[in-house]
């Protein structure tokens, strides 16, 4: 067993890191300071740029992480200090008292509404209230209550104690004390997250003073259907629906006075999200956004912005708001701003949302310093851009917003990357890692037995029994055909009840089980284990939900609720009687990674995987390794790239686990996760090449790191003038000895941004051009202060810390002017004299210049061969022809196809440091598969009846996972059990009903329907009720 890793922070970043490590077979201690997992993301309503429901996508991830056999979660726990060195840290932890026994509390919630105290609800940003004993959030994981000691009457004044009286599990422990304990860990991942801050300290926005001024996080809760206003956008002052709302960008960010000159990177896009969702909520609401530069630099964000502007009628006003004053009507707000044409302007609104930025809590910064982890001037982890995710202290890694402003996908990337690094200290023994092979456990053979169903009905204390007459339900259940044994139990989820189920199975030789209790979404795994323990195949279980969807929602109709419970059980029996014993299949998994592309991304991914102990085959079409990075002079922080790249290449070349296939072209790719096959064309001249020269390599995963390419501008006389070059060419120029272009006689330098980006036929932002231009300009200016440099831009997108670079550039006297896309600068050339004309929008002045050098920020393009590659890989590209991730938010490095991961420019524009981070993430994700000796297929997968199949191909067309395909030879559809996710879409569309879905068979559903609608209720209906 490898050594454990401690993950600090149970937000999305921590959860991802923990899950990846756990999947690698590494034990994880997951530390969360609040009472439940989920962090900030759990507070969000929707997520940009797809407007996915945040809970919907996060909840399953939390549950699977929390339930993972390799993850131990400590809530309300904080890290005190760390001793020792990588491989052997001693981590001292402090667990605050919850005053509720986590083992005993079942989250029934009986106590919640009985608590006489009411305190402000932290989860809802204080906009609603809950008791001193409360669940942090409705869908809390772990689903356990907690007591706020500072407010509890019992704890403070030894009064009340009502929760203790009510609790049926005696889970309340007023005497609980703080626990300090130590865990040993190979390495530590720090993912403690952030606070939102508003610029209120400095700008006169009257937050808190004007109740209708709210922060963006508060607004998330307001928009949320489960939030304090049930998702209605209404004012706190008068409960009126909002008709006219303003969003203020950079509220606190990009502001020297807050000592936060950095850009928080996410506010522009989430404000656009807020604007769009507000429009969805309220017909003809007026939405104004006040901004300085719109920074939608992420993948797909520019389209999102265009949509808001062009089709959704959101108004964008380019101005900071200086202050907010009370408006003419009570509760209204007057904003003072500047509009482009007329200068001063003021406007009144019903509600104003401050786009608060991201900052590390003081607490986080302090504990980082306690860990002897160097922080930067803003309190974030101080990170080496060539070694992202590593902190200044070996063995401690950062991920998520502690590393600096980030959105969710970037935090998730960080997490997987940090997992790849942390894992390297856990000394994995590759073979004995991972989930042990399935089918180890032999189950009783039940096929030829008479069906004997056992029904277990749970009281859940009074949660069920308080409404439903459980005894009666049990009696009636005993009379249902096929039922051998029926029993009611006070708490089925308690461990002794688990044993009881096991005994009954043996006693009555039961071969089907129906559990009538709470929701299968949380408890099915528990009961499946219980019956598996007793040697019964776990898929012979059926759960009926008589609590969450029974007693809890029909309090007023006990008789009907009782009757409904019985019907559900009867249907459950009918359904389970045709359940098949299912098993998760095993597929061999080749413990080798195939990395396509030998640039920075590919090299780095290969290195990390090899360092984790996995063999790697690295394929590069060029003879030389290094890719684009070779033409970069300096990083965006101004440090030379070459030494770092050389070291990386040397490491990869020297690593005994890495085979390099340089100069090899890919001919074909076949297979699927666990066993991919690459056919390579070696660097043998065509004429002498024969098929036997072809090289074949095999691996369990493929990492796509094929890079991108620079756009070749057709405008601005690039084609016909020596003095017009691209930023990349400028870099090469600057790295070459004789800098012919920046000679002394070159006095005036102009740079034009967004050349080929953010235009109709390429509606995406190339992300790095702004910072790159700034870096190059600053570099020149520092070495040649006399040179006059002007940057013509549309929006200055120096996100994150690059805002400091922007400020530095201005400080150095570099000129900045905007231009509008529909009024581009004009460049003409006479001999070698360039003339540049443009209109400065603010002053409306027509300006003419004679630049000696014109540098174009050319767009980053997807490689032309992306399409062919994607077809070979059977994984899709996005509308801009970059490789598409499986999920924009939560699976940013996974492709839509299992076992294929993405890194670097192949996935989309990003800078070197981001590329290195993402390639580490790809390595981390890949490792979570490679570490498994076998890949386990899902048990509930589709199955084809070859007799019935007519090979019409409907199933193949509707399958999003390429898991079912028509075999042309055999003329039948075939399911790939590894790829099938069990959604049943094929079963839904199949005309001859040849495809069926295990666990949800047509026969089972029909039986369920028929039983639910059976009419023989006469005798039971007369009685019952409580």
């Amino acid at each position: 067993m490898p050594d454990p890793v401690v993950v600090v922070g149970g937000g999305i970043a921590g959860i991802q890191a923990a899950t990846d490590l756990a999947e690698m077979g590494i034990p994880v201690y997951l530390i969360e300071k609040s009472p439940s997992l989920g962090g900030r993301m759990a507070q969000l309503d929707k997520t940009f740029p797809t407007n996915d429901c945040s809970t919907c996508i996060l909840a399953p991830k939390i549950t699977s992480c929390y339930n993972h056999e390799n993850v131990t979660t400590y809530t309300m726990t904080e890290l005190i200090n760390v001793e020792g060195e990588p491989g052997n840290f001693r981590v001292r932890l402090k667990k605050r008292p919850r005053y509720v026994d986590e083992e005993k509390c079942t989250g029934c919630g009986d106590c919640l509404d009985k608590c006489p105290v009411s305190i402000s609800d932290e989860y809802n940003m204080g906009m609603s209230e809950y008791g001193a004993i409360h669940k942090y959030q409705p869908q809390a994981v772990p689903n356990v209550a907690a007591i706020d000691a500072s407010e509890c009457l019992k704890i403070n004044e030894d009064k009340c104690g009502v929760c203790e009286k009510i609790c049926n599990f005696d889970a309340i422990e007023y005497k609980q004390k703080e626990k300090k304990f130590v865990v040993q860990a190979a390495s530590i991942i720090y993912a403690a997250g952030y606070e939102g801050f508003s610029g209120d300290l400095v700008s006169d926005y009257g937050y808190k003073k004007h109740p209708n001024v709210v922060t963006s996080l508060e607004y998330e809760r307001i928009l949320n259907a489960a939030g304090p206003t049930d998702g209605h956008v209404i004012r706190q002052t008068d409960g009126e629906e909002v008709e006219n709302i303003a969003f203020i960008h950079c509220s606190g960010s990009r502001d020297r006075r807050t000592d936060k000159n950095y850009c928080s990177s996410v506010c522009c896009t989430y404000s656009i999200k807020h604007a769009l969702i507000t429009k969805e909520h309220i017909k003809d609401v007026n939405v104004d956004l006040y901004y300085m530069d719109i920074r939608t630099f992420g993948k797909g964000f520019e389209r999102y912005y265009n949509r808001a502007q062009e089709t959704e009628g959101v108004n964008f006003i380019r101005s900071r708001v200086s202050e907010i004053e009370p408006g003419s009507n009570p509760g209204d707000l007057k904003l003072k701003a500047t509009d482009d044409d007329n200068g001063y302007c003021e406007q009144e609104y019903d509600m104003v949302v401050l786009a608060s930025g991201l900052e590390p809590t003081q607490q986080v910064t302090d504990s980082l310093q306690k860990l002897k982890v160097r922080t930067n001037k803003y309190g974030f982890v101080d990170m080496d851009e060539f070694n992202p995710l590593s902190t200044s202290r070996p063995g401690i890694f950062g991920c998520g917003v502690v590393n600096g402003p980030r959105d969710i996908p970037e935090s998730v990337m960080d997490a997987s990357g940090a997992a790849a690094l942390a894992g390297q200290h856990a000394v994995l023994d590759v073979k004995d890692m991972g989930v042990e092979a399935a089918g180890d456990q032999e189950f009783r053979v039940t096929q030829n037995e008479r069906t004997r169903v056992g029904v277990f009905v749970c009281h859940c204390g009074t949660n069920i029994a308080g409404v439903i007459d459980v005894e009666e339900v049990k009696e009636k259940a005993a009379g249902i055909p096929f039922v051998e044994h029926a029993e009611d139990v006070k708490y089925l989820c308690s461990s002794d009840s688990q044993d009881l189920i096991g005994e009954r199975i043996k006693e009555h030789n039961l071969n089907r089980i129906v559990v009538a209790s709470c929701t299968p979404r949380t408890h099915e795994p528990l009961f499946m284990d219980a019956i598996a323990e007793a040697g019964l195949n776990p898929y012979l279980l059926e759960m009926t939900n008589i609590r969450d969807q029974g007693s809890w929602v029909h309090k007023e109709e006990p008789e009907k609720a009782t009757w409904k419970a019985f019907e559900l059980i009867r249907a459950g029996v009918a359904r389970v009687k045709n359940a098949l014993p299912l098993e998760r299949g095993e597929v061999d998994n080749i413990a080798r990674a195939l990395v396509v592309g030998g640039g920075a991304a590919g090299l780095n991914a290969a290195r990390e995987l090899a360092n984790l102990g996995f063999p790697v085959s690295l394929v590069e079409r060029e003879e030389e390794l290094g890719g684009h990075a070779t033409s970069l002079k300096h990083s965006l922080e101004g440090r030379p790239v070459k030494p770092h790249l050389d070291r990386l290449i040397a490491e990869v070349k020297g690593h005994e686990l890495i085979d390099i296939y340089a100069g090899h072209e890919i001919k074909d790719i076949t297979g699927f996760v666990g066993n991919y096959k690459l056919e390579l064309i070696p660097p043998v001249p065509k004429e002498v090449r024969s098929d036997k020269d072809l090289v074949e390599i095999e691996g369990g995963v493929v990492i796509v790191a094929t890079g991108g390419q620079e756009f070749e501008p057709l405008e601005y006389s690039y084609q016909d003038s020596e003095q017009v070059i691209t930023q990349l060419e400028l870099e090469e120029e600057l790295s070459s000895e004789n800098q012919s272009l920046v000679r002394d006689d070159c006095e005036e330098i102009y740079m034009i941004q967004c050349v080929g980006s953010r235009e109709e036929d390429r509606p995406y932002c190339s992300r790095i051009c702004c910072s790159q231009a700034l870096r190059n300009a600053v570099h020149i200016k520092e070495n040649h202060p006399d040179k006059d440099i002007t940057i013509l831009y549309r929006e200055m997108r120096s996100y994150g810390y690059y805002e400091d670079l922007y400020r530095k550039a201005r400080d150095l006297g570099i000129n900045f002017s905007r231009y509008e896309v529909d009024n581009k600068p004009e460049v003409s050339r006479k001999g070698d004299e360039l003339t540049l004309k443009y209109e400065e929008p603010l002053s409306g002045k027509m300006i003419t210049a004679k630049p000696d050098l014109l540098v174009l920020a050319a767009a980053i393009l997807p490689r032309e061969d992306n399409l062919t590659l994607s077809q070979m890989l059977k994984t899709p590209l996005n509308e801009d022809q970059f490789f598409l991730e499986a999920h924009v938010k939560l699976r940013p490095v996974d492709s839509a196809t299992d076992g294929i991961f993405l890194a670097g420019l192949a996935h989309g524009p990003k800078n070197l440091s981001e590329t290195l981070a993402q390639s580490r993430a790809a390595a981390g994700r890949a490792a979570s598969i490679l570490s498994k000796e076998y890949l386990l297929t899902q048990a509930t997968v589709a199955e084809v009846d070859e007799e019935l199949c007519i090979a019409c191909g409907d199933c193949e067309r509707v399958c999003a996972y390429k898991a079912i395909e028509v075999n042309e030879e055999e003329n039948v559809a075939e399911v790939n059990r590894v790829l099938c996710k069990g959604c049943g879409n094929c079963t839904g569309v199949c005309r001859p009903h040849a495809v069926d879905l295990n666990g949800f068979l047509n026969q089972q559903i029909i039986d369920e329907i028929e039983t639910l609608l059976a009419k023989d209720d006469s005798e039971f209906a007369k009685t019952g009720g409580v």
Partner: protein, 285 residues
Amino acid sequence: MKMENSYKDLSAEIKEVAKKVLAEEDVDQLLGFAQGEFSGLTEPVIIKKAEQAQRMVFTEDATPMLSKYLLEYKEKKQAVVAKPCDTRAIAYYLSEDIIDRKNLVIIGINGCPGLKDNTACDECDTRNPVISDYQVGEEISSAELAAELKGVKYLLEDMTPAERKEHYSQEFARCTQCYACRDACPVCYCDHCYVESNQPEWVEEGSSADKDMIFHLMRTMHMPGRCVNCGACEMACPEGIDMRSMTTHLYHKAEELYDFRPGISPEQPPLLSDFSKEDSEPGFL
């Protein structure tokens, strides 16, 4: 009087083209219609030699869908005399890739004069072949077609749902579940039909009218995006039940909602294994 080609002219043309095809193309057989030697009725025939083509005809009784016969001999190379509705069925086969275009020589009938007693022909919106290698007869122009279809209502379109329910109660009382409708349908070609399955038992035993209704509703739900509205089902019914009205309704709805017409091109993906994010949600909550 419709302004399409006469059966006589078409028959003559078909004979000629058929001979040509049998002579020039290396087809194993040609599917067409001929005057039954004894019955005197118009019957489907398989012709293998050019001289046999002399017997070929095309009449108002050329009801059977030769397109469906094609599937019987998939592996052979066949020529077929195809009514426009047949060509649509064939285009549909191709879209599902269940028959090989290389094995087909399609003799399409232009300006199809329609069939006796087939109410579908009165509603027909495809009077020229959508796909063919040879053509007989004069094309009917879209203008003419439009003119003819003007004001034409499809089967039971004018009834209220309640009236239809009443109507079907009468109609399906006569249904004997003989499956003639299914067997006649060119796009019904499963080897084992769901109605014959007893695990699960989609349609329960017993020949009460409501069970018959279930059979027809379920059959119709196999049809959206497939039914080419040829009317074969109705023609085949020994009880003269107008079950076509159901498939026809979905035929028109698919066009109205998704601008989808089955079998107009071999490339188009079938209606229900495709979607658009902008699909409307009529009557959703």
